[in-house]
């Protein structure tokens, strides 16, 4: 194909492509090295946590007068399908002092109406305890009868963070927990996730495991039976959540470099949040932005602090069930990550910011942000070098096969860790489905995922505006109790 060209040009092209290929190989090798380190740390952290787990301690926490109260902030935008189950699960929490604050962020599907139909409420006029600037105003407030719960309806600004800030204004307790309006908390989840604050006064934030509830069955707002869902796209997300939440976050937490505490389930000290001016309402990755701000604040002030991940408590959430919804979500996440890393670039490779500055941020910049476009570039380069006859097709095929098996191995490892750590997916059917998905995911999901992430990154680079996006909720599969 390149026979007609000047031999010097051919040599230059050949050398350039070869060097680029070697650089890509080193890049992927470095990525695998990072991954293995994180996995090893995660296994140690999860095993340690299981060894120290004590029901006796939890019962003491439940009974203590000093156990800090928790204000649970629930931003909800068009969540009428799942918000009642969410609030019912919060009302069943085993925790001494809980204040629930739900924010209907300009929903058009009657989210607040559904709640007011299910629970007795009265309109109230309250002054915010912690005034914060909001992008859009609060329209109305309702107090639940005989419950420490508040319903807020506000005009939507298109940003989840603005809804959280609206709720944060009324938070009365020492700790605040953020969960999504489509999530279900296990009854003891809050006790577990608050425990690090009790064990160590320097803990400023703590996050727990979030799992897809798709396919699971609820009885009276509690998850009764966990199943790996039928649809492939939902199964793929189960696998992703295992890798990201169980392995990834446990590993990063163990090296004190946790970047993200999910907005779907995280507990923070209220005073830390208020001190930071609430969540950054302009950001799409407001949860990670908050964690970065906390790292920045405490490192700058040279205060001892810990941000931890607890591998046991579980928050069940409804994940998108169609490819188009997943595409929208991933573009938004990628854009959010791009914006986050841009705002945190002054912390990158700065020893004063510890593991976060020296390891986590460079990792996320190099592999999470640029990983997707580089995968696409590597793919295009492979085709080009193959077509030009610079690298034989057999070599390219082998390289792709190696990448495929390494990707499958990563998922299988996550499944093994999951199996050893929790009992959720231990049935033979669930294991079979997860293992099959591990083999299908790299073939069917990696390429479109890389395209979505690249699109999100481009939107971040171009500073395009983005919002919650249209979301379709099916709600949870509820089953009534049988007498």
């Amino acid at each position: 194909m390149i026979e007609g060209l000047d031999p010097v040009v051919v040599d230059i092209v050949r050398t350039t492509l070869l060097v680029t290929t070697i650089v890509f190989a080193l890049y992927f090798g470095l990525y695998q090295l990072f991954s293995v380190t994180i996995v090893v740390r995660a296994i140690g952290a999860i095993a340690d946590e299981r060894r120290w787990a004590s029901d006796d301690l939890l019962s003491g926490t439940f009974a203590s007068p000093l156990t800090p109260g928790v204000s649970i902030l629930v931003p909800a935008h068009n969540e009428s399908a799942g918000v009642v189950a969410c609030v019912e699960s919060l009302l069943r929490l085993q925790y001494p002092q809980v204040q629930i604050i739900i924010v209907d962020d300009g929903s058009s599907d009657g989210t607040s109406d559904v709640l007011r139909e299910r629970f007795a409420t009265s309109p109230v006029d309250l002054e915010p305890l912690n005034p914060l600037p909001l992008l859009k105003p609060i329209e109305a407030l309702w107090q639940f009868h005989e419950r420490d719960a508040l319903l807020i309806r506000k005009t939507s600004s298109g940003r989840r963070a603005d809804a959280v800030n609206a709720a944060l204004q009324f938070a009365r307790h020492e700790l605040v927990c953020m969960i999504d309006g489509d999530s279900i908390l296990e009854p003891t989840a809050l006790l577990h996730v608050v425990q690090p604050f009790i064990d160590d006064p320097t803990v400023v934030a703590s996050g727990g495991i979030v799992r897809p509830a798709n396919g699971s069955v609820l009885i009276e707002a509690e998850v009764d039976r966990v199943e790996v869902p039928d649809r492939l796209i939902e199964r793929i997300q189960v696998l992703e959540y295992l890798r990201a939440f169980l392995v990834g976050r446990a590993g990063w937490s163990s090296i004190k470099g946790l970047l993200i505490i999910s907005g779907a389930f995280g507990v923070f000290r209220r005073d830390t949040l208020i001190g930071l001016g609430g969540l950054d309402a302009r950001s799409l990755a407001e949860d990670a932005e908050l964690v970065v701000a906390a790292h920045r604040h405490h490192r700058s002030e040279r205060e001892p602090y810990r941000i931890v991940f607890v591998a046991r408590p579980v928050c069940w959430t409804e994940t998108p069930s169609t490819w188009s919804a997943v595409a929208r979500q991933r573009k938004r996440w990628s854009q959010g990550l791009g914006e986050l890393l841009r705002s945190a670039r002054d912390m990158m490779l700065r020893p004063r910011y510890g593991s976060l500055g020296m390891l986590t941020l460079p990792y996320f910049w190099l592999f999470e942000q640029w990983g997707a476009p580089l995968v696409l570039a590597a793919f295009a380069l492979s085709i080009l070098t193959g077509a030009l006859g610079i690298i034989p097709w057999e070599v390219i095929g082998l390289a792709i096969a190696i990448s495929y098996f390494v990707a499958v191995a990563t998922s299988l490892l996550a499944i093994a860790i999951e199996l050893a750590a929790t009992a959720d997916y231990r049935s033979a059917r669930s294991m079979r489905r997860l293992m099959l998905t591990a083999f299908l995911e790299p073939i069917l999901f990696y390429f479109p995922h890389a395209v979505w992430r690249t699109t999100g990154l481009i939107r971040a680079i171009l500073s395009r505006p983005s919002e919650w996006g249209a979301q379709q909720r099916a709600g949870f599969v509820q089953r009534a109790t049988t007498s």
């Binding site: 060894r51 120290w52 004590s54 006796d56 301690l57 003491g60 926490t61 009974a63 203590s64 007068p65 000093l66 156990t67 800090p68 305890l129 912690n130 009365r172 020492e174 604050f197 009790i198 064990d199 160590d200 006064p201 005073d271 034989p392 057999e394 070599v395 082998l398 390289a399 096969a401 190696i402 495929y404 098996f405 390494v406 499958v408 191995a409 299988l412 490892l413 499944i415 093994a416 199996l419 050893a420 231990r426 294991m431 293992m435």
Partner: protein
């Protein structure tokens, strides 16, 4: 090319190995469940013999059984507890515990503290004070909670002191849980907090003292209304809400007038509503 082929086979082999690992983990979990069932049966048999028949309980097959029986001792009182503790002593639990407390691994030291407290009728104060000074925070916490679970009031002073000191402190919430488990009868047991004015210590003392209904906490709570630490002020206001008398109303009203923090004001309003 050869290197790639080797790498390809290695990656494929890794996948096969991980599939085997998944299956092995699953098999080990099943075996672990079987062992746990067997242990439960053994523990039930020992407990049945001890608590129903009264004597002749068999010796444990392993130290795991010893720990399992000891965990039951912390949940029962009276003759049943004594019978279990007697069996634990006869089967060498205090010796195993003392050896474990010298272990290098914090988890072993924590387990040993539990076993020691649960198997001893009158745990030695010096041993437990030493363990309250352990280098590992989790071991210190376990010691405080276990000591508290005996309900012995002699634990209050050392635990309170451990929460107020500079080095190797006890987390305030853990201290409060431990103290709440003891019979707190007078405010003087909490003197470490009153004398050091340590914010964490004051929070523990005010909360536990008022939760136990000790009226003598009121003067200390009134003093703490002007503390620099917001959390101490909240604890003081909450304490007055629980045990305050009419004498507390005026200081609370004064605090409400000058308080800059909205949360404290909210707590003061609640306390005043209860007291007036």
């Amino acid at each position: 090319m050869t290197a790639l082929i080797v790498a390809g086979w290695a990656a494929m082999g890794l996948c096969a190995l991980l599939i085997v690992i998944v299956l092995v983990v699953r098999a080990r979990i099943a075996a672990g469940d079987r062992r746990a069932r067997g242990r439960r049966t053994e523990v039930s048999a020992i407990l049945r013999t001890l608590l129903v028949a009264g004597e002749g309980a068999p010796a444990p097959r392993s130290t795991v059984t010893l720990h399992a029986i000891a965990s039951v001792a912390s949940r029962v009182r009276g003759e049943d507890r004594e019978a279990i503790q007697c069996w634990l002593r006869d089967n060498g639990a205090p010796l195993v515990a003392r050896r474990g407390m010298r272990s290098r691994r914090p988890i072993e030291r924590a387990r040993a503290v539990r076993l020691y407290v649960r198997s001893t009728v009158e745990p030695s104060m010096s041993v437990l004070i030493r363990m309250l000074d352990d280098a590992d925070l989790r071991v210190r916490s376990t010691t405080a909670l276990e000591w508290g679970s005996t309900g012995r009031d002699e634990a209050i002073e050392p635990v309170m002191a451990a929460a107020c000191r500079e080095e190797r402190r006890l987390p305030p919430l853990v201290a409060s849980i431990a103290i709440m488990r003891c019979r707190l009868l007078d405010a003087e047991s909490l003197h470490a907090a009153w004398s050091t004015r340590d914010p964490d210590g004051l929070r523990v003392a005010l909360s536990t003292g008022s939760a136990a209904g000790i009226a003598a906490v009121q003067p200390y709570a009134l003093q703490s209304l002007d503390h620099d630490d917001v959390l101490v002020r909240i604890a003081a206001v909450d304490a007055l809400r629980r045990i305050g008398t009419r004498r507390a109303v005026e200081p609370l009203q004064r605090r409400a007038a000058i308080e800059g923090n909205a949360i404290v004001r909210h707590h003061v309003a609640e306390a005043l509503a209860v007291l007036s």
